[in-house]
Amino acid sequence: MFKTSIKRAATLAAAAGLAVTASLGVAQAEYPEKPITMVIPLGAGGSHDLNARVITSIIPQYLDQAMIVRLTPGSGGQKGTQEVAKAPADGYTLLFTHNYIDMLQQHVENLPYDPMEDFIPIARVNYAPAGVVVRADSPYQTFEDLVTAAKENPNAIRMSHSGNWGAFFVPAAQIMKARDFSLNLVPYKGGGPSMQALLAGDSDVTMGFPSTLGSLLDAGEIRVLATAGAERMFEDVPTLAEVGVEGDIGFMHRVVLAPKGTPDDVVAKLTEAFNALVEDKTFNRMMSRLNETIDLIDGDGYQVMRQEQDLAYKDLVNELTSQ
């Protein structure tokens, strides 16, 4: 006991010493000495954009430099991602993306970059768990009702989602694979139109993130059948795991990546800033107003999750495209 704490103290001292020498080494040009650009490979006004606006308006306090958002939409996120992959690995160009762009697309098409080889994660800022939703007047009272009906009439139940290979399409495919049923998947341009299709009766099922579900649920317009996540989001609604769909399914992870080869001290500085950010009161207040969670995972922790996603998505895409 005593020994281990001495050991820990020694390691800490050594680490501190290293940090000091490292900082001496770059004393003349300490990162960051100019504004940092955060590229979002998506369009203006989406949830990533909103999250980024909050992050970049508060994180400068902890970096002593401005952080600028640059929206580079195109090719389902590939344009912006490629731009950062090509950028110098100096910590001045970061990517704010999500797991489906990051780890899924490589299995669907040929990319001009290799996400595992070209990027390292800096932080997972938060995640959004998806819920499976029907209209309040739907005949499906429970998730099992839906599965039973879908098994009786394969492809007859319409599910609207936010776009092929997107944040609702992938979990839908994973759920269908796990429970062996099939729905008629109809793409819409984003989560909003997809929810509107449900409310208008154009589709029978859809998915949504908590930020959009809350007010519709309170108004009695929709019913949630199951939600992603280890814990129940709503008291009387089962989680996906409880209905037989296990694994990292139905989450959109919002992550900050940097080009591979970014110096360790830069990564450390950024990690430190994100750690301080999630403790910031204003940040917490603004994110909760946007109905967003805050659940920071550091780069190393998220790298493990990326590797798992990589394998899971590879299997999923192989299965879907081999049919």
Partner: protein, 493 residues
């Protein structure tokens, strides 16, 4: 309901609301006037400011940026034939023709008055009809959207400047250009020849600037078109008589724009074009459209602004943003603790009415701000040609570049500039091409969705569930033929 409305009225009457709304309007106008900068970008950047303001101040501020930006886009469209957005394309046609005749100030005045009228009328309509509109919005799904987009394209082709055959050729070119890139539904690459730059498709802005601005710049340089000699006439403002003469057109466009605003997914581009086509069709002298008819400017501007009111409805009644602009507003709402959705009116009725009323006042304020600043903008044309041309060229290239910061877009700009010159020499109207290019992707998407919804039995699906869409599809060829016959009976260029 009425007490909430009155409470909202009282809430909106605050000095700081008006001051910030004015700042938003002016800032939005400046940003909108710079080609390459979109209103959307300005709103996204300014969004965090609104987080720290009171809801009755912060949201009108953003709305000000939005409204100012839309009008701002018509300034370069009128003065230098450089539409920064699809919505300003129809305006640039008659607007720039008027500038060449030395009537830029009249054109800008007309754009301002008709914008403000269209916007105000549609906002007031929205305030009183919000629940019926919310019901109507729900009636439009992908099949209806497809049918309406197809009908719009047919109307544009039938009423454009050149002969119907030439228009159809150009529209086909535009539709084909819109196919280049990744297929929006399946993710398959089309006509990219393996070039990554083409994967995300051809960018709109370099095309707009290329086909509309470059040929006009070339005309000034090559043929030495004397724009500046008419500068003496520039000072004349729009007369009451001219406004009255266009008033019917403005009202018609307002109705069209409001109607199009109700259909989710259509937006300002379609509204402006439909308003313009309807005005041309109703006119006794359709041949004057495109040659500098004030009614053309009025028709396009009233229609594209009238879209604004109804687009707020899905956001306010369901909490669902229909486009990126309303998505940013949604962010501003929730950050303020207002949760748009079915209960917003019960919980926060007065605040919502205050915001809607502030929208109406924003229009009136904008009338004043715009009227006072137009003389400064229209002075731009008085700059000597030897100075103006290089500056416009610089803005053309900067505008094409800044949108995506991609040098590939500069090549596109030059290519479309050359294309525009050739088309002009062959008397091909580029408008149908641009419209085919802009409306092609949403139409294709809606088509794909319709096929997916029918799950292999499209026709049966339409007969069973979607008679309205089927009706529009059936009527489309008839409407197209009637318009074509009418347009053929008048001499075209």
């Amino acid at each position: 309901m009425l007490d909430q409305f009155l409470a909202g009225f009282a809430m909106a009457m605050r000095l700081d609301t008006f001051v910030l709304m004015g700042a938003g309007l002016f800032g939005g106008m400046l940003v909108g006037a710079l080609p390459g900068f979109t209103t959307l970008m300005a709103m996204a950047i300014l969004l965090p400011i609104s987080f720290f303001l009171d809801p009755i101040v912060g949201i009108p501020f953003l709305l000000g940026v939005y409204k100012g930006g839309i009008f701002g886009g018509s300034i370069p469209a009128i003065l230098v034939s450089m539409p920064g957005t699809g919505a300003a394309v129809a305006t640039s046609r008659d607007g720039y023709a008027l500038t060449k005749q030395g009537k830029s100030r009249k054109a800008l005045d007309m754009a301002l008055f008709s914008s403000v009228f269209g916007d105000t009328a549609s906002d007031i309509f929205t305030i009183f009809m919000i629940f019926p509109i919310a019901y109507l919005v729900m009636q439009f799904g992908p099949p209806e959207l497809f049918a309406v987009l197809l009908l719009s394209l047919v109307i544009i082709a039938a009423t454009s400047g050149s002969s119907p055959v030439k228009s159809l050729i150009m529209m086909a070119v535009g539709l084909w250009l819109s196919f280049i890139g990744t297929d929006p539904l399946g993710g398959v690459e089309r006509f990219t020849f393996g070039l990554f730059d083409l994967k995300s498709g051809i960018p709109l802005l370099p095309m707009l600037i290329g086909v509309f601005a470059i040929p006009e710049i070339a005309a000034v340089v090559i043929r030495n078109e004397k724009v500046q000699q008419l500068a003496a006439l520039m000072g004349e403002r729009l007369t009451r008589k001219e406004f009255k003469a266009s008033f019917r057109t403005i009202c018609r466009s307002t109705v069209i724009g409001t109607g199009i605003g109700i259909i989710p997914g259509l937006g300002q581009v379609v509204a402006a074009m439909m308003g313009y086509s309807a005005a041309k069709n109703a006119s006794d002298q359709p041949e004057t459209f495109g040659e500098g008819n004030l009614e053309g400017v009025a028709a396009a501007e009233a229609a594209n602004n009238a879209v604004n009111g109804p687009t707020m409805v899905p956001l306010l009644t369901l909490g669902i943003p229909g486009d990126n602009v309303t998505a940013i507003l949604l962010g501003a709402f929730v950050a303020q603790g207002l949760r748009p959705g079915p209960q917003l009116f019960e919980e926060q009725g007065a605040t919502v009415f205050a915001i809607l009323i502030a929208m109406v006042f924003a229009n009136l304020m904008f009338l004043a701000i715009g009227y006072l600043s137009i003389p400064f903008f229209s002075r731009l044309v008085r700059i000597k040609t030897s100075v103006l041309v290089p500056v416009v060229i610089m803005f053309a290239f900067a505008g094409a570049y800044v949108f995506r910061s991609d040098t590939f877009d500069l090549l596109m700009l030059v290519a479309f500039g050359v294309f525009g010159l050739i088309a002009k020499a062959g008397k091909f109207d580029v408008m149908p091409m641009v419209m085919g290019f802009i409306l092609g992707p949403p139409m294709e998407y809606a088509f794909g969705q319709t096929i997916a919804m029918g799950n292999g039995t499209t026709l049966a699906f339409l007969f069973d569930e979607r008679l309205a869409a089927l009706g529009i599809l059936t009527a489309t060829p008839v409407i197209g033929f009637l318009l074509w016959r009418r347009m053929r009976s008048v001499p075209s260029e």
